[in-house]
């Protein structure tokens, strides 16, 4: 087997990569569906219907894509500079914690200021949390993958302590959850019925903003340069550590926004099951988007559809909902291969 670099990669091929990866993942997972004794096409039809089949389903799919856009962006930005932030889950909770800490009465502001304020403190909290691994990496060369992963567990335990202790809502009949944030801090819903909230607009704005930063600014240039070739960037005068730290602040901030938008847009308060792994799924979103900030939106929508659709599919037929997680895992692996095939060609020899 021989792997050769392609001289040119057409845009078409780049665009086809995620689509073929998704198809590959669907085909591979159909083995599990067959095992469950359900006709494959029927199962996927149910999944599709569950995600897009009604106004309600569509709204659910969009609602669920909001945190995934944020965490997908967080991962995409970080991976661009080869800073492997796998801690979006923890940063999401940090953002959520900040929003309930400041949003449940500590600060009172009019609505048009309260929402931006909560977004800001949530982003700051996420960014500050990621400051620990990034400083350890830049100062001491401690591998960030392991530290960000481990911090996820630490943050979750911290949240568990806070919602059972200092931040527990006395009115919650003993349930471990915080008080609800004040009305001024709530992200308004976008349509009269359903749960779709203004977090979607914030998420899309964030995508566009990040895209513009990456494409048009000196900072974006430097992030890309560091990611492609840190030694070359350093030689040219890019300050590597400064760039990586800034990237981390942006990445952590975006993941923090995911937490704020879930609290302020959907739940109202913080519990331990705020995120069913949005941070980890963010890796899949970013990879499917090939780290492109605008492509994060459709990628997040797709994976959100998988989750929402799988929920309703498993209610209709006897397939465990974990099929959605399997699909996500397989997609990550499949996209790796399909992106590689856009840049290389594999030559088989006798």
């Amino acid at each position: 087997m021989q792997i050769e670099l392609r001289q040119h990669t057409s845009l078409l091929r780049i665009g086809m990569a995620p689509i073929s990866a998704i198809f590959a993942a669907l085909i591979l997972c159909s083995a599990l569906i067959i095992w469950a004794g359900v006709p494959v096409l029927e199962a996927y039809a149910l999944l599709f219907k569950g995600a897009f089949g009604s106004a309600f389903a569509l709204k659910e799919t969009f609602t669920r894509s909001i945190p995934l856009i944020f965490t997908g962006l967080a991962v995409a930005v970080a991976f661009r500079s080869k800073f492997y932030n796998i801690g979006a889950e923890g940063q999401l909770y940090a953002g959520a914690l900040a929003s309930v800490y400041f949003g449940t009465g500590l600060v009172s502001l009019p609505g048009y200021l309260m929402v931006p304020f909560l977004l800001l403190v949530g982003a700051l909290a996420g960014g500050l949390l990621l400051l620990v691994p990034v400083l350890l990496k830049t100062r001491l060369k401690v591998d960030e993958v392991v530290t960000t992963l481990l911090l996820n567990f630490v943050v979750l335990l911290m949240v568990s302590y806070l919602i059972e202790g200092p931040l527990r809502d006395p009115m919650a009949m003993g349930w471990p959850q915080t008080a609800s944030i004040v009305d001024e801090g709530v992200l308004p819903t976008l349509m009269s019925k359903g749960r779709l909230h203004a977090g979607l607009i914030v998420a899309i704005l964030a995508s566009v903003l990040i895209w513009a930063v990456m494409r048009f600014t000196v900072l974006g240039y430097e992030i890309k340069a560091v990611g492609f070739n840190a030694k070359g960037a350093e030689f040219s005068g890019v300050k590597i550590n400064r760039t990586v730290i800034l990237t981390a602040l942006i990445s952590g901030g975006l993941a923090g926004l995911a937490g704020v938008s879930e609290v302020a847009g959907l739940k109202g308060y913080l519990t331990l099951d705020l995120s069913p792994g949005f941070g980890y799924t963010g890796v899949a979103v970013a990879m499917l988007a090939q780290l492109h900030p605008l492509a994060v939106i459709p990628a997040a929508l797709f994976l959100s559809a998988v989750y929402v659709g799988a929920d309703s599919m498993s209610r209709a037929v006897n397939i465990p909902t974990y099929i959605a997680d399997v699909l996500v895992g397989v997609s990550v692996l499949a996209i790796l291969v399909s992106v590689m095939l856009t840049r290389y060609r594999i030559k088989w020899r006798k």
Binding site: Q7, N229, G232, F235
Partner: protein, 504 residues
């Protein structure tokens, strides 16, 4: 009698034909030189012989048996050993571990180190290649590592030894010793393929010379019947004249180093109290075996390492606490040693690489935040034209360019702002003759305009033909820079090996 023969070997990489129907044969006890420019296809051909690559067409016969293509194991079994240009050794393992790898059955439950050590020491003795089997490879000098590589091949019972540019990293005296070793090997019946682009070495050591140009064999001649000028023309194909150094009166001091010392991660000195003054209209060459502090000096002079003691002054202003961007802004142009790693970011487009050193200048970015793409592309177009870079345009991906064109981009970026001081670290390594002449011309033009240039190279010939003054680095110490004409190659070689020679 023929030891091995290539039959119509062809190898392509994408659209490039690296080897074009090459047929060659090697006799027993013969030293055959493979002469060619960088990129002529010498290493590719040897990699096919050694099984790293598989030929697209053709076959190789070793001692009248067809060699299994694409298998290093088969090549070793057939008695072929290769000393790669970039040594294939693991620094963190010992000499003996590096040598016995692959000699025992992988599924054996232990090493027979006693026997291996005995065998190695016997061989070392009989070929006079002294080595400590238990030393970590990382602690050895370049010459010693090469010895390990040769022993490694002999240990596997090599009867044909391939040496890929073996002298590039050696001092002239070490080269002499290598030649003595090679002659004693051939006296015992070994055959040697010696790859080089240095004519005088090839004329000194080989029995027969094959000249390779653009993947084709141009000619094969007996060394005794070859002449230097004829070989040069065959190798390059056309007569490329390298520029000549014009005599010129040095101007005012531009860059001054005084008592410069720098330390490595292990706190050992990499630069030890270096003094040097470089004047306008002057090229100073730094000779030395790789790993004697040249990289540390280059890091300081590129602005990458600020952790040094002593002073560094440009036009009487110290450069303390300045980074690469400040260096560039104050008039220092830098040509890095490794053009693919530090020189260019291959995944970025050409125009992006050409603005990397002054991203925050008024020309390139608005408020130091937003990149002025139009201005950047316009600059790229101008520089591509002026430096004759062969590419599809400013938006082509940099890594698709040839080595020579990438070097032209680096020159364009470093020289177009007309810097007062230029650091040129191995600026022509790995380039073909045309590109070498081009780079040298550019450096001479800069000198004429009044730039002070520091040229670091491992190639003495290059230094001797390019520099006004020359100094030698050995273990972090820099000798006094004296006019090039006052030093002989032998003297420089001894200095590179650590002997003190005082200026007459």
């Amino acid at each position: 009698m023929s030891r091995l023969s290539f039959k119509q070997i062809t190898k392509r990489f994408g659209s490039l034909i690296a080897n074009d129907s090459i047929s060659l044969s090697l006799g027993e006890g013969e030293i055959m030189a493979l002469l060619g420019e960088n990129g002529a296809g010498k290493t590719t051909l040897m990699n096919i012989l050694f099984g790293h690559y598989e030929a697209d067409e053709g076959s190789i016969e070793v001692e009248d048996k067809v060699l299994t293509p694409g298998s290093t194991e088969a090549a070793i079994q057939a008695g072929i050993g290769m000393v790669h240009q970039h040594f294939t050794l693991a620094d963190n393992l010992t000499v003996i571990e590096n040598i016995i790898l692959g000699t025992e059955s992988l599924w054996s439950w232990r090493h027979d180190l006693t026997a291996a050590r005995r065998k190695l020491m016997e061989m070392a003795e009989s070929y006079s290649l002294a080595i400590n089997p238990d030393a970590l490879v990382g602690s050895l000098s370049v010459g010693e590592r090469q010895r390990v590589e040769i022993l490694k091949a002999l240990y596997r019972g090599a009867r044909t030894l391939i040496l890929d540019e073996p002298t590039a990293v050696l001092t002239p005296q070490e080269t002499e010793n290598l030649f003595i070793t090679l002659r004693s090997l051939t006296a015992k019946g070994l055959s040697v393929i010696f790859i080089s682009h240095k004519l005088h070495e090839i004329l000194a050591i080989s029995d027969r010379i094959s000249v390779l140009r653009r993947g084709k064999i141009v000619d094969t001649i007996k060394t005794s019947e070859a002449s230097r000028s004829e070989l040069a023309e065959k190798m390059v194909g056309e007569v490329v004249t390298r520029p000549q150094l014009e005599a010129m009166q040095p101007g005012a001091p531009v860059l001054t180093l005084a008592g410069l010392s720098a330390f490595g991660d292990d706190k050992l000195p990499m630069l030890n109290n270096v003094d040097l003054t470089i004047h306008a209209h002057e090229i100073i060459g730094i000779a030395g075996v790789a790993g004697n502090g040249q990289a540390a000096l280059a890091d300081v002079l590129s602005g990458l390492n600020r952790d040094y003691s002593g002073t560094l002054e440009l036009h009487d202003k110290t450069l303390t606490d300045a980074g690469p961007s400040d260096f560039v802004a104050r008039g220092i142009g830098r040509i890095p040693e490794d053009r693919h790693v530090r020189g260019m970011i291959g995944e970025m487009e050409i125009w992006e690489n050409l603005i990397s050193e002054d991203l925050r200048s008024a020309e390139i970015s608005k408020w130091k935040i937003i990149i002025n793409r139009d201005a950047a592309i316009k600059r790229a177009e101008k520089l591509i034209e002026r430096f004759d870079v062969r590419c599809e345009g400013p938006q082509a991906q940099t890594k698709l360019l040839s080595g020579g064109n990438i070097q032209k981009l680096i020159l364009a970026r470093a020289l177009s702002p007309e810097p007062d001081f230029i650091l040129a670290n191995q600026p022509v390594r790995g380039l073909d003759e045309g590109a070498i002449a081009y780079v040298q011309e550019q450096l001479f033009d800069a000198r004429k305009r009044g730039a002070a240039i520091l040229l670091i190279s491992e190639d003495l010939d290059e230094l001797l033909s390019l520099c006004d003054r020359i100094a030698v680095m050995y273990q972090g110490n820099l000798s006094e820079a004296v006019p090039t004409a006052t030093r002989t190659v032998t003297e420089l070689g001894l200095m590179m090996a650590g002997q003190a020679i005082h200026a007459n």
